[in-house]
């Protein structure tokens, strides 16, 4: 737990000292972040359900991010802008996984009246 918090701190500090990404690419990094967030939430929710698999989690984390960025790029080249659609898909999955997490937390820590 503490290791994760330290890791988060290191990540933030490292990013503060790195130069900013060129603005043109910010669209792609945005989708990549959405994909990463989605796989984190997916990891937590599968952990709750006891179906957690480290391999799937790690591989999913990186490949989803790459695939999301690649799809946005492809959409741009094809002339069919998929940026919003991809964001929608990941936001949707985040909400679904978050609902599972919420139910678990509520059932665990709050007894029914």
């Amino acid at each position: 737990m503490i290791v994760s918090i330290i890791a988060i701190g290191i990540g933030i500090i490292a990013a503060i000292y790195m130069p900013a990404i060129p603005f043109i690419y910010s669209k792609y990094t945005a989708v990549a972040i959405m994909a990463s967030l989605d796989s984190v939430f997916g990891g937590i929710s599968s952990n709750i359900q006891g179906k957690f698999n480290m391999g799937i989690f790690l591989s999913g984390f990186f490949t989803n991010a790459l695939l999301a960025a690649a799809l946005t790029l492809l959409g741009e080249r094809l002339g069919a802008d998929m940026f919003i659609a991809i964001i929608f898909v990941f936001a949707n999955r985040i909400f679904i996984n978050f609902a599972i997490i919420r139910r678990y937390i509520l059932s665990k820590f709050i007894t029914k009246v």
């Binding site: 994760s4 910010s26 984190v40 990891g43 790690l58």
Partner: protein, 245 residues
């Protein structure tokens, strides 16, 4: 053992995620003024309309202020002799600088693109049948040589800092695009101005060869408009105050 592995992998994932998030926040914040691609077309339209309205308001205010200043100058110069002299200098400088509308005798030169057909489209450059910035500059130069005191191109006053430059199919003057037909107004001696253009081998001859229509009209009461834009000297500063005349 498995627990620790999991912990470190999760920590690694957290590191990557927080790194990406912070980097993205930084990028977006740095470019928040330029955030155009993520804005929708309607937002941009709204912003453009607002800016246009604002520009119109400011323009109106500017002309009102200028009128006020002129009033004060008139009043001051009538009551005080030395101010009168300074005001005269100021008026003359204003003519030279293009800041005041000028009237007087002069010529109006109208140039229209050629209506001739290019007889050999492959060999002869199509561009020769179109008016270029170099043609305009030639005409303006000849007029100046003949003593033109104020010149305007399509109602854009030619200042010392005015550019006359091709911009695609139109010409850019004072950062404003003007298109054919080109109307050059010049104030000076109408006979001299006209003859400076029509002599054999001169500007008109060259242009007429390609069929570019040139029309010169003498006028005894010509009005050349003033420069409308903002004047802003970022690099030049006066070296020493000297009498203007």
């Amino acid at each position: 053992m498995k627990r620790k592995d999991a912990q470190f992998t999760i920590a690694f994932v957290c590191l990557v995620l927080s790194f990406m998030l912070t980097l993205q926040f930084k990028t977006i914040r740095k470019n928040s003024e330029l955030n155009l691609e993520l804005k929708r077309a309607s937002d941009l339209q709204q912003e453009l309309n607002n800016l246009k309205d604002k520009y119109d308001d400011v323009s109106k205010k500017l002309s009102k202020t200028e009128d006020k200043v002129n009033e004060y100058q008139e009043a001051a110069s009538q009551s005080n002799k030395s101010i009168n002299v300074i005001k005269k200098d100021l008026d003359e400088a204003g003519i030279l600088a293009g800041l005041s509308t000028v009237k007087g005798p002069g010529v109006t030169v109208t140039l229209k693109d050629s209506t001739l057909k290019n007889p050999m489209p492959g060999t002869i450059d199509e561009n020769q049948y179109v008016i270029h910035d170099s043609d305009m500059l030639l005409v303006i130069n000849e007029l100046r040589d003949a003593g033109a005191e104020a010149i305007s191109l399509n109602d854009q006053r030619i200042l010392a800092t005015s550019e006359v430059r091709c911009a695609g199919t139109v010409i850019s003057v004072n950062n404003t695009k003007v298109a054919a037909p080109f109307v050059v107004k010049a104030i000076g001696n109408p006979d001299y101005l006209e003859s400076s253009l029509v002599f054999r081998g001169g500007a008109i001859d060259t242009l007429k060869y390609w069929g570019i229509e040139v029309n010169i009209k003498k006028d005894n009461n010509l009005i050349v408009p003033k420069y409308d834009g903002a004047i802003n000297f970022k690099y030049a500063t006066p070296a020493k105050w000297a009498s203007l005349m």
